[in-house]
Subunit: 333 residues, 4 copies
C-alpha cells in the first residue's frame, strides 16, 4: 500500500468530474469562465483582494513566486532541507536567473526568527555579497511540522523589519491549515506572507496549484514569466476546474483533514520511534533496515530517509481502515 | 461557432477516459507503467529507437528541444513568422539561456534551403557573431502549409552540411502527416530531423505533447531541464495516458484528417479570397471588415489577421455538417 | 598603415601618464579618489546630476545599460546592423537574461521614428509576444552616420510616447558630438536619452568606457550587476584615471575631431565611390577586389565589407600627412 | 600603511613599462603578437600543452572557468568561505546560468577529501537533486592556507573517482607556489587540477589574470563566453603585456615570495594571537577592538574580520623595513 508519497495519490472524483465538465468550454489560455473566477474565489477565501494564477506544478508555483520577489543578483533565505533547495533540480536558480538560496537551520525543517537572523547577520552589506531579498518558509514543512500563525508572524515581522519579502511554499498548505485550525488569512497575509504557493496536487488534484499574491501589485510580470516558461496552457480551463472543485464545499480542507488523521493514526503506536511531532500527513520513524524490510514484506511502500529512518506519508484517500494495518504493524515492531 | 483556434477545441472522449483510467495507478513522476511505455510506442511509430518524453505544452516541448541542441551563445534559424519567435514570450531565450533566433523568409511561413542559406551566409564565422547551431522548422506552418518529406530533406541536407541540428515544431505534426500521406519517419528523421515537438493538444489532447529525440543520445540533460522548469509532473501518468490514447488506433491521424477535411471544405468556396493553399487545418482569407463582421454576426468566431485578412481554424471535432454553414457563408460573401 | 579599426589605435600619452600616476593611490574597487570624481565630472559635462560608472569595454557598457532598462521577458528595438545585434556574441541576451532584440531598418544604420514605429506596431500587446521595453540607437552609427540632436529627439519623443526607455550606444559618441557641434547634453538627455554608453577606448583610451545614467535612479542594481559580471576591478583607479585624462582639456573632443578630419580627408577624393556620407571617422567605399588589393599592396590595411565594398577607419593619432597618401591613392584608383 | 588588501597594491614598474611598450602594437582583441605568445609561455611554465586566455579580473577567471565545466543544472562543491560563494555577488550563478554552489567545511577554508565527500554523499542521485559536476578549491585559501601538492592530489583523486572536474581559484596561486616550493605543474595538473584561475592582479599586475585549461579541449566555448561577457577587450595586448612581464624572470614568484615573507615577519611576534598558520601573505589575529584601534591610531590600515579578529595582508611592494613597525606593534600589544 502506498505510503511513499501523497504525490502519487489518486485524483478526487469530484475533480475528475469537474474536468470532464470543463470540456464543454472552448476558450483558450486563461480567458475561460473558470479561470476568470479564480481571483474572486481566492479573494473570498483569503478575505482580501488577491491575484490568483493557476500553475501546473508546485515547483512552478514556488519558482514563479520567487522570481516575482527576488532579482537575479539577490538571495532567498530558506531552510537547508527546503524543497526549493533539495528537490527542484535548481528550478529557483533557473526561474530567478541565478539568485542564491541562503540556508538556515531549525528543527523539523522549521526556521525561527533566530535561525533566519543568524543567516542574515552574517551577510556584509556590500556589493560583493549577494544580498537577501526574500524569505521562503514551507508550511507544512518537509518533516510534516506546521508553522502556527504566530510563528509565521514572527518571521513575517523579521522580514518586514529587514525589508525582505515573505513567500510560503504551501505544497501542503491545506494540511497546515487543517492542523492549525485557523483561517487561511491568519496563517498567511495577516502573518506577513506576501506570496503563497497553494498546493492542490498532493491533496486530490491532478495538475493544478495556485500562486496567490496577497498584494495584487506584486504579481508584476508573473503572467509573462508563466507564458515564457511554457506554463500558460492553452486548455487552462482544465486547471481552473480542478482548483474550483477543490474549493467547492471545502473539499481541500476535508481532504487534508483526512490525510492528517491518517498520519496521526499511524503515529499512535509509534512511541519513541517518532522523530518529529506529527502535525500534518507525514510520519518519520526510527526503524532498522530489518524492521523496514519487515514492513515492506507486508506490502507497505514507503521511503527510506536517513540511515535508520523511514518516511510514511498518508493521503486524502486513505481511510482509517486502510491505515490501521500499518499502524498496528508499527506498534508491533 | 469556434473557428478562432484548435487550441480551444475539446478533449477527445477517449483521452478523457484514458485519464480517468490512469487514476488507478499510483506511481509518481514518470515512473508509472504508462510513462514507461512511451519510448517503446514512439519507437514503433517512428520505426527506430527514439527517446520520447511527455511535456505539458507545445512551448515547453519546443524550448526543451532547442535547449538540447543550442547552447546559450548559439543561434537557431527559424522563419520570421515562427511560433517560437512570435508567440512564446521569449521562451526559447529563457530555456536556452539567451540563444538568438535568426529569422529567415519564405512564403506561407515555409523556409527553403535558399532562404536559410541567405541567413547563414551573412554570418561571419568569428567570436563576435553568434554562430548558428540549429534550424527549426514548423510543420504544418503557422499558415497551414506543409513541408513534404523532400522539402524537409532539402533543409535537413543543408543542416547536415553546415553542422547544424534540425528541430521540427510539430504542434500540428499530425495535420502535416495527414496531408503528406507519408509515414512519420519519412517526414522526420529520414529527412534529417533530429528533435521533434509532437503536438497532441490541438488535436484532441488536453495537456500533453511529446518531445522525441531520434538520436537517443541527444536527449542529454533534457530530463534535468524538464524537472528544473517545473515540468516533471508528479502525476505524470495523466500525461502519458493522453498520448497513449491518441496513439491507440491512430486516433491522432483520424483527428487530424477530420480537421484537415474541415479546412478543405471551408476553402472550397473561397475562390481567390484564399491567401495560402490549404494543406492542413487553417484557412487564411481576404475579407473586408464588413465581411468579417457579417460572418461574426452569424455566430462564427475567428481571428482577424493582418489588415483585410482573417484566419479560420478547424478542429478534430467539427463535422462537415457543422462546417458547411460557414463554407456557404464564405462562398456567398 | 592601420585603417582597419580605431579599436586598435594607440593609447594617448596623456592617458598612459595618468595611469602611471594613479599607481600611487591604494584604495580598491571604486573607492579611490579618482573613481569618486566621476559622478561630479560627468554631471558637469552633461549639465545635470548623473550617475557615471566605469566599465572596461563597450560591450559591457551597452549590456549593463540594457539590463538596467529591459527585463528578461522584454525587448529592445535596435537597428539590424547594430553592434549589440551583430558584434557582441549575444552579450545583450546574456546580461538581460534573454531579452529579445527587435530589428529595425534605416539607411546607414540609422533608425527613424518611422522605422521604429514599423517594428512596434507589428507587436500585438498580449502575453504571448515579447513586449518592447527600450530602444537603443548607436551614435555615431556602424556606418559612420551621426544622429543630430533633433533626430535623437524625434526617437526620444516616440520612446516617451510608447513608454520605452532610450539607450544610446556611444562607442563613438565623441565623434558624433564633434560632428554635430552640439553640447553633450543636447544630443543625449535633452533629446530623451536616459542611458549612455560613452566610449573612450576607440578614441585614445585603453580599457575604460563610461556608463552614464541621466536619471540617477535608473542606475538601480547596476553596481551589483557590474560586480556579478566580474567587471568591478579591484584596481579600478586605473580605469577612472583614463577617463579623467580624456576629459581634461577636452582631449576626448580633440581626439574625435582629429579622427573625423582624417575620414573627411580620405573621403575627399572618393567621389561616387562613397557609400555613406562621412560624418564621423569611418569611410565606406565601393572598390573592386583588384582595387582593394592595389591599396593593400601599398601598405594600407582595412576591412572588406560587403562584396565590392571596403571600410576605412581613421583614428585620433593619424595626422593629415599620414592619411594623405591613402586619400591620394583612392583618388587615383 | 596599507595592510587591508593586496587588491590595492601598486602595479609593478616592469608591468607598467611593458604596457607602455605594448602601445606600439596595433592589432585588436587577442590577435596581437603578445596575446599569441600566451599559450606557448604557459605551456612552458606548466610543462605541458595548455590553453591560456587572459581575462581582466579574478571573478571573471573563476566564473568563465566554472562555466566551462559545470552546466546550468549542475553543482560545484566549494568551501563555505570561498570567494566564489561570498565575494562575487553571484557571479558563478550568472556565468553558469544558475548552477548551485555546494558548501563544504574545513579549517582555514581548506576542504579535505572527507569534507567534500560529506557533501557528495548527501546528494541523492536522481533528477530532483542538482548533481555535482565540479569541485573548486582556492589556493592559497581565503585564510592564507596553502594546499600542498599531495593535498590537492587527494582531492583530485576524489574528483576523478566521482567523475567531477577540478578547478583551482588561484587568485593567490603565486603565493601558494612560493610557499609550497614546488613546480606549478606539481600543484595543478599533476594533482588533478583541470582549470586554473591564475592570479596576477594582487601580485603586481593591474588588470590581467589568466585562465588556464590543462586539457586544451576543455576550453570549449570559453572564447565565446568571454566575448559574450564583454571581456574580450579590443586592446587586449595590454593584458597580455602585463602577464608576460610577470612571467619574465619569474617576477611573479619573486613578488609572491616578498609578500609571503612580509606576512611571516608580521606573524613572528604574534604568538597565540595567530588564528591560522601563516603560509601565504595573510595574517589573521585575535585582537580586541581597543587593540585594533591602537594599531590604527599608528597608521596601520586593515580589515576587521569576525568579532575580535583582524586580517592583515601583505603585498609584493612592502619591504621588511616597511613591515617591521607593524610587527613590532603587534608584538608589543
Amino acid at each position: 500500500m502506498r505510503f511513499f508519497s501523497d504525490n502519487a495519490a489518486p485524483v478526487h472524483p469530484r475533480v475528475l468530474e469537474a474536468m470532464a465538465a470543463a470540456n464543454a468550454l472552448d476558450t483558450a489560455y486563461d480567458g475561460d469562465a473558470l479561470s476568470r473566477q479564480l481571483d474572486g474565489r481566492f479573494s473570498d477565501l483569503f478575505e482580501r483582494d488577491v491575484r490568483a494564477l493557476w500553475v501546473p506544478s508546485g515547483t512552478a508555483a514556488n519558482c514563479l513566486g520567487l522570481a516575482a520577489i527576488c532579482p537575479p543578483y539577490g538571495g532567498v533565505v530558506c531552510h537547508r532541507d527546503a524543497h526549493i533547495q533539495n528537490d527542484e533540480c535548481g528550478a529557483p536558480e533557473f526561474y530567478t536567473h541565478g539568485a542564491k538560496l541562503m540556508l538556515a537551520d531549525g528543527d523539523g525543517a522549521k526556521m525561527t526568527p533566530d535561525t533566519v537572523r543568524t543567516v542574515l547577520d552574517a551577510i556584509a552589506n556590500d556589493v560583493h555579497r549577494v544580498q537577501p531579498h526574500a524569505i521562503s518558509i514551507t508550511n507544512a514543512t518537509e518533516y510534516g511540522r506546521v508553522y502556527r500563525p504566530d510563528e509565521v508572524a514572527a518571521i513575517g515581522e523579521l522580514a518586514r523589519s529587514r525589508g525582505l519579502r515573505l513567500h510560503m511554499d504551501g505544497a501542503r498548505f491545506a494540511n497546515a491549515v487543517a492542523h492549525a485550525g485557523c483561517s487561511p488569512a491568519d496563517i498567511t497575509w495577516r502573518a506577513g506572507v506576501e506570496v503563497l504557493s497553494f498546493g492542490f496536487i498532493k491533496n486530490g488534484g491532478m495538475s493544478a496549484e495556485m500562486l496567490v499574491f496577497f498584494d495584487p501589485d506584486l504579481v508584476g510580470a508573473t503572467p509573462q514569466r508563466r507564458k515564457r516558461a511554457g506554463l500558460l496552457f492553452s486548455k487552462g480551463r482544465f486547471l481552473a476546474a480542478q482548483v474550483l472543485a477543490m474549493l467547492d464545499g471545502d473539499l481541500w480542507l476535508d481532504n487534508a483533514r483526512a490525510a492528517n488523521a491518517g498520519a496521526t493514526l499511524l503515529a499512535g503506536g509509534a512511541g519513541d520511534r517518532l522523530i518529529h511531532p506529527v502535525e500534518a500527513n507525514e510520519v518519520f520513524l526510527r526503524a532498522t533496515p530489518d524492521e523496514a524490510a519487515a514492513l515492506r514484506a507486508r506490502g507497505f511502500d514507503f521511503y527510506d530517509w536517513a540511515a535508520g529512518e523511514i518516511r510514511l506519508v498518508t493521503s486524502w484517500d486513505q481511510t482509517p481502515d486502510a491505515i490501521r494495518p500499518l499502524a498496528d504493524a508499527i506498534a508491533a515492531l
